[in-house]
Amino acid sequence: MTALVPLVVCLPLLGAATALMLGQRRRLQVMVSVLSLAAATVMSGVLLVLVDRFGTAVVQVGGWDAPWGIVLVVDRLAALMLLISALMLLGVLLFAVGQGVVDGDAETPVSIFHPTYLVLAAGLFNAFVAGDLFTMYVGFEMLLSASYVLLTLGGTGARIRVGITYIVVSLVSSLLFLSAIALIYGATGTVTLALIAERMPNLPADIQLILGLLLLIAFGVKAAVFPMSFWLPDSYPTAPAPVTAVFAGLLTKVGVYAILRTQTLFFPDNQFSTPLMIVAALTLLVGILGALAQADIKRLLSFTLVSHIGYMLFGIAIGTPLAMAATIFYVVHHITVQTTLFLAAGLIDRVGGTTSLSRLGGLLKSSPLVAVLFFVGALNLGGIPPFSGFLGKFALFQAGTIVGDPVIYVLIGVGALTSLLTLYALARAWNMAFWRPKKQIKNYTSSMSVPLVEDPHDEGMVLKKTISPLMVGATLSMLVLTLGLTVFAGPIFDLSTRAAANIRSPSTYIDAVFPNGTGSIAESNVGTNFEGGAR
C-alpha cells in the first residue's frame, strides 16, 4: 500500500516527461496524459479505501527515518483531497482535449499544455502527501511554476499583464512561506510536520504567535483570503476556460488544505480562532459584494470563489470535530461545483460568443443543455436544498450553534446572507443570459442590470465557436459528480467526520510518523537560536 504514495506523485511527472518528448505526435501525447491522470485517479481511490480501512500510510523516502529524511504521509484528509483533485484534473483535461479537437489547438497548444498540466497535477499531489514543511513548499512551487506557464499560455497582451501580477503576488507569498519555514526550523530544529507538532506547544507564546501568523499570511495569499484576495478575480478569468476551471477548483483549495493541516497540527488549542473568524466574515462579505457588481460571468464566478473561501475559514476557526468535518465536506463540494461552473462558463463563452451578461440572451432556447449545466451548478453553489452546498453550509452552521459563541452567531448570519446573495447573483446571471429573449438585449432596462460593471479587459463580441461532445460530456460528468456528492452525502460526511477526528487529534499523526516515539531523537539543535527555545 505504501508504494502507491510516491507513485501518485511520480506517475504524472513521468507522464509530463513522456508528453514533452512526444510533442510532435499529438494523439500519442493526449493518450499519455489522459492515461497517467486516469491511473493517478485510480491509485488515489485505492489509497483512500486502504487508508480509511488500515490507518495512515507513511513512506520514509530513500529509507531515511523521519526527522532526517523526507517523509510522505497520507491520512484520510490527504487521501480524500488526492482523489477529488485527481478526478477534477482528469475531467478538465478531457474538456481541454475536446476544445483542442474543435479549435485545432490554437487556444491550448498541446505540446506545451499537456506536460505543464501534468506537472501542475504532480505538484498538487506532492503538496497533499507532504509530511514535512519543505516538501510541501516544493510541491507548492511545482504547481505554481506550472500555473505561471498555463496562465500566460499564448502570450497575448492581456494574459501577460494579469500573469505578471499573479506571478509577483505568488512569489511574495512563496518567499513568506520559505521565511516561515526558516524561522520554524530555527525555533524547533526540524521541518518534519509531526516533530514540529510535538515541539511547537513547548515554545513561548509570542514565538508561536509570530510563526502561526506568518504561516497564515503565506497560505492566506494562496487561498485568496481577504484582504489578500485582490489578485484572484483579475487574473483567473483571462486564462483559457479549462485552465481557469482547474485553477478555481484546486489552487485556492491547496491553500485551504495547508491552513487546515498546519493549524490543527501545530496549534491544536486553536489560538487563532478570533482573527480567523473576523477574516472569514470579511472574506464572505467583500467577495460576494464584488460578485454582485460584475457583468462578466467568469469574473462573477471568481468573486463567489473568493467569497466561499470564507465558509472554510469559518469552519477552521470554530475548530470542533463537527466543524472540521463540515469544512472538509465543504472543500470537496466547493472544488467540484466551482470547477463545473467554470467549465459551464467556458461553454457559454463558446455558444454565446461572450461571457458578458449585457450582451448574452436567449441561451435557454439556443442551447438548452448548457443552460441545464449552468442552472444546476448555480443552484448547488447558492445552497438550495437538497444539494450538497446546502448540506455543507447546514453542517457548518450546526457546528457553530453547538459552540454558541455570540461572534459565531454573527458569522452564521453573515454566512446565510452570503448564501442568499450568491443565489441572487447567479439567478440574475441566469435571468439575463438564459431566460431573457434575444430581442431584448438592446435597450434593456431593469433595476437588476444597473449596478453591473463590465470586465476591464473585455474584448467585445468574438466569434461563436462550436462545442464538441467531449466538452459537454466532461462538464456533464462533473455535474453528475456534484449530484453524486448530494446523493451519497451520508457516507461522504461520515468519511469526512473520520478524517476530522484524525486531524483533530495530532497524536494520531505523530504516532503514525514515529511509531517508536520521538524520545530517541536528540534535540541538539533545539533552542540554540531563540532565547528560551524549546529546551
Binding site: 519543505f134 516544493v138 512551487e141 511554476s145 505561471y148 506557464v149 500566460t152 502570450g155 497575448t156 497582451g157 492581456a158 501577460i160 499583464r161 500573469g163 505578471i164 506571478i167 509577483v168 512569489l171 511574495v172 518567499l175 520559505l178 521565511s179 519555514i181 526558516a182 524561522l183 526550523y185 530555527g186 521541518v191 536528540a522 541538539s524 539543535n525 540554540t528 537560536n529 531563540f530 532565547e531
Partner: protein, 182 residues
C-alpha cells in the same frame, strides 16, 4: 543566539532593499527586488543553522563541532527554484517589453505560418535552412579566398537533407526577428 551579526545585518539590508525595489513600476526592478528578497530568505535559512562549525560529514567528526547540514540542503533547493522562476520571469518581461513596443499590434500580429499545412511548413523551414547554408558557404569561400565553385551546389543540398531537425530550431529563432522588422 550564536549567529554572525554581519549576516543578520546583511539579511536585513537585503530584505529592505528588495521590498523597496519590488514596489517600483518597472518589471525589471521587480525582478531585481525578487532576487534580493529571495537571497535574503536564503541567508535567513543559513542563519538558522546556528553556530559555525566544521563542514558536516566530510571533516566533522562529532556532532559537537559540525555545522547543521539541513539548512544548507534547504538553501540549495530554494536557490534552484529561484533560478528557474527568474528565467521564466525574464522571458515574460521580454515578452511584455516586446508587446509594449508594438502596442496593440503586438496582440494581433498573426503567425505567418499559421495557415500552412505541415508539408508547406516543412518546406518553409527547409528553404530558410537553405539560406543559412548558403550564407555559411559564402563565408567559407571568403575565408578560403578562392573561386572554386563548380560542385558546391550539390554539396549544400546534401548537407541540409542530413540535418532536418536542425532546421526547426533555426526557424523558431528567426520568428521574433521577422516581427521586429514590421
Amino acid at each position: 543566539m550564536s549567529a554572525s551579526l554581519t549576516l543578520v545585518v546583511l539579511m536585513a539590508v537585503m530584505y529592505a532593499a528588495g521590498v523597496y525595489v519590488m514596489l517600483e513600476r518597472s518589471l525589471t526592478r521587480v525582478l531585481i527586488g525578487f532576487l534580493l528578497v529571495g537571497n535574503a530568505t536564503n541567508l535567513l535559512i543559513f542563519i538558522m543553522s546556528g553556530r559555525p562549525g566544521s563542514s558536516p560529514i566530510v571533516t566533522g567528526t562529532s556532532g559537537q563541532d559540525m555545522v547543521d547540514p539541513i539548512p544548507q540542503v534547504l538553501m540549495l533547493t530554494a536557490i534552484v527554484i529561484n533560478f528557474g522562476i527568474t528565467a521564466l520571469l525574464l522571458a515574460l518581461i521580454y515578452r511584455s517589453w516586446w508587446l509594449a513596443r508594438l502596442g496593440d499590434e503586438g496582440d494581433t500580429l498573426t503567425d505567418e505560418h499559421a495557415t500552412e499545412s505541415p508539408d508547406e511548413a516543412d518546406a518553409t523551414f527547409r528553404s530558410s535552412s537553405d539560406d543559412d547554408d548558403a550564407i555559411a558557404e559564402s563565408l567559407d569561400e571568403l575565408e578560403r579566398g578562392d573561386g572554386a565553385t563548380s560542385d558546391e551546389d550539390t554539396d549544400g543540398r546534401n548537407a541540409q537533407v542530413a540535418r532536418p531537425t536542425d532546421a526547426v530550431g533555426r526557424a523558431d529563432a528567426s520568428a521574433p526577428a521577422a516581427g521586429d522588422e514590421r
